[in-house]
């Protein structure tokens, strides 16, 4: 079904040439969203949300971990302010991701940029960023990737609300799809020894901070510090030693 749709788009000619690469780039994300989206739907339905309410949250918020937290807070009767404040803190890491993506999107259509911003998640960030280093990737392809992932998220969360507990969502190691995707995309980001050191520092900082401080602010703190160390290292070691061959 999916391939016939792609063929249909492809015959529309060059103007639609970004559609199939955009969708193709999204498949690991969609696969990974399947068990998480279903699990979210099951949880939300148990917390008393209707299918419409589940779908609306996935449309308006589109942020996996924040949605999980919000549902358990709603079930516990938390206030408007505490739910919104928690969501803000949990999703602050996307500020950093959008900043890194901005480097590749100079002088692009501002309306498209706004639509793109809506779909910046950990997963779409990682996929699009490695793709943007590829000259054939542009904002249109990135938009298709984002909305394919977004559509999958909305559908799977609502499906979970309908009867997710009856779907064998944890088969075939599917829970590992996103981790494996992040592993490969991390490998794509390594373009020299300083990137290796930066990644190792970020990972170790993150592990210890995640144990010491509640929430997920460890991601932002660890990566900001590690990237700063990367800049200092590059200055002291000299850019001559950096390999310029991209991966």
């Amino acid at each position: 079904m999916k391939s016939s749709k792609l063929v249909k788009y492809a015959t529309h000619g060059e103007r639609k040439a970004f559609v199939s690469p955009g969708m193709a780039a999204a498949w690991p994300i969609c696969l990974g969203y399947l068990p998480i989206g279903l699990a979210f739907g099951v949880l939300a339905q148990k917390a008393g949300l209707s299918l419409l309410e589940i779908g609306l949250m996935s449309v308006l918020v589109f942020a996996g971990s924040a949605q999980f937290i919000a549902v358990s807070m709603l079930a516990a009767g938390a206030s408007f302010f505490s739910i919104v404040a928690t969501t803000f803190v949990v999703n602050l890491r996307h500020f950093l991701m959008s900043s890194a993506l901005a480097v590749f999107l100079k002088n692009t259509d501002r309306k498209k940029l706004s639509f793109f911003a809506y779909g910046v998640t950990d997963e779409s960030f990682a996929v699009n960023l490695s793709k943007f280093r590829d000259s054939r990737w542009d904002l249109n392809s990135a938009l298709v990737t984002n909305y394919t992932a977004n559509f999958t998220w909305i559908i799977t969360t609502v499906l979970g609300g309908i009867g997710g507990q009856f779907i064998p969502a944890h088969a075939f190691g599917i829970d590992y799809a996103l981790i494996a995707m992040f592993i490969c995309l991390l490998v794509f980001q390594i373009r020299g020894i300083i990137y290796v050191i930066t990644a190792i520092i970020a990972g170790i900082f993150a592990v210890f901070l995640s144990i010491l401080i509640p929430g997920n602010s460890y991601i932002v703190i660890a990566s900001m510090i590690a990237a700063a160390i990367g800049v200092v290292l590059k200055k002291t070691v000299g850019s001559g030693k950096e390999r310029s061959d991209g991966v």
Partner: protein, 108 residues
Amino acid sequence: MVSKEYLVVILGMGLVTFLPRWLPLIYLTKRSLPSWLVEWLDFIPAAILSAILLPALVTDSATRSIELWRPEFIVAIATFLFAILTKSLGGTVIVGMVLFGLAEKFLL
């Protein structure tokens, strides 16, 4: 049947989720950035992906403790090697899933 209170909550959530995603894209794309910032942002992807990954591999989020030899970590070593050798995203995702599926069956 969506209650007004619920709608207000998810609209608020949507706004505070959208703004951090939107502001850097709108603000940083229309001006030239100092070279130190571009260099710093260049290290952000490797740093942030590692900061997301490693805690998921070697910590137990329920007890908030380090637990090195979890199936997630053992499978990650092989998955990393596969990714480095093949540079194939699709292949890495499939290999990671298969190995984790096997690890769950035989290691737990």
